[in-house]
């Protein structure tokens, strides 16, 4: 097939598919053109959409950041940082400017003994960090767990700073005049925690924190207080940690 015959053949095939346009096409087009010319608003429309999207993103960022601020404000500044660390620190976080508050970040303080159980606790809650801190209105102890809350936490106040070390049964006296004993059952304080077991803090009320038992699934931390003080406590998550606030 020559070039010319190919052109002729393909044109015949196209002709068969097309044929001439209807005589009405030209008047149809003229009629369509006589309508008011639509304004070409494409770029304006796109600019409006883009501006709307940008505004939406800005509002979203503001809302999210505000939400995050509210979330973190539930945890006092300088408290137990959520970053999991196995190194305990005795360095206080100073924020002495605010006035003492009668209510802790965990709610009202109590001076009586309290007990909290957790039926869905793991076999053993492994302690992996212990921290202390001081803030306007309260000092703070944070005990962090790697695998969930322990089965029971008991907190008891006492009018001396003398405790019994277990299992040796020896009396140990901490700095301060009064004390609080935190007993954690269903816990392990030595497998994942290798930090200090005695913190001499000398805060306004918490002057010493010392581990007095880590035996048979029970861990006890004793607090030496400069004076008789009430407390509040709560569990926070991510990571799981027991936070005890001691009222100044």
């Amino acid at each position: 097939m020559s070039r010319e015959s190919f052109r002729r053949d393909i044109n015949r095939a196209f002709d068969a598919m097309s044929g001439p346009a209807s005589p009405a096409l030209s008047p149809r087009v003229r009629s369509a053109l006589s309508q008011p010319r639509p304004r070409n608003t494409g770029p304006l429309w796109m600019a409006g959409l883009a501006a709307g999207l940008i505004a939406l993103i800005i509002v979203g960022v503001l809302v999210v950041s505000n939400f995050n601020r509210h979330q973190t404000s539930g945890v006092p500044a300088g408290v137990a940082s959520p970053s999991p660390t196995t190194v305990a620190t005795a360095a206080p976080s100073a924020s002495p400017s605010a006035l003492p508050s009668p209510i802790s970040p965990a709610g009202p303080y109590t001076c009586a003994a309290s007990d909290k159980t957790n039926p869905s606790a793991p076999l053993s809650a492994y302690i992996n960090a212990v921290r202390t801190g001081t803030h306007a209105g309260y000092d703070q102890v944070t005990i962090q767990f790697s695998d969930g809350q322990p089965s029971e936490v008991q907190i008891v106040t006492q009018t001396s700073a003398t405790f019994t070390e277990s299992p040796r049964g020896q009396a140990v006296t901490l700095a301060g005049q009064d004390g609080i004993l935190i007993t954690i059952r269903g816990a392990d304080g030595h497998t994942q925690y290798s930090g200090p077991t005695d913190f001499k803090t000398n805060y306004a009320v918490l002057v010493e924190l010392r581990q007095v038992q880590d035996f048979e699934g029970t861990v006890q931390w004793a607090l030496g207080l400069s004076h008789n003080a009430c407390y509040a406590y709560t569990f926070l998550s991510n990571p799981t940690r027991l936070v005890v606030y001691i009222q100044q």
Binding site: I10, D15, R30, L33, N40
Partner: protein
Amino acid sequence: MEQRPTAMERATHGDADSFAMLIDPLLQPAFRLAAVMLSDRTAAEDAVQEAAAKAWSKVSQLRGDESSLRPWFLSIVANECRMTRRRRWWSVVKMADVEAQRRTDDLSPEATSDLRRAVGRLSLDERLPLVLYFYLDLPLDEVARTLRVSPAAAKSRIYRAAKRLRADLTLEEVS
């Protein structure tokens, strides 16, 4: 002596009559292009009408002299055909709805039908350069402007598409 504005200038300044007068001779080739692209004469007329309206709304963007008008308008028609095909992607692609009425002198109906079927198997982007070059008989540089590619690329597209219809075609035959 003040020079009268050309029809092109009047059209680009919003004179609908001038624009209608300019595109009137282009309606037939536009229809033939759309009819082959869509394999549907009714849809082809609709596409041409829609393309004319779009061209009118964008006429202020048209640059150059009257020689720019044909490739510019045909490229709008081709785009409209693509959009029409997308809109009815779910439908069965029809072959030409009107059987060829004219008989060919030196080609049997079977041969014509075979070539039509082969054309029908080409994609829209393959049909377009063939229609522009062979059927509408546009020069290569105008085919290139309609396709918005370089003349070399246009030639290559024509050759590739034609080769699907005639296996022994050589590039030299597309010139």
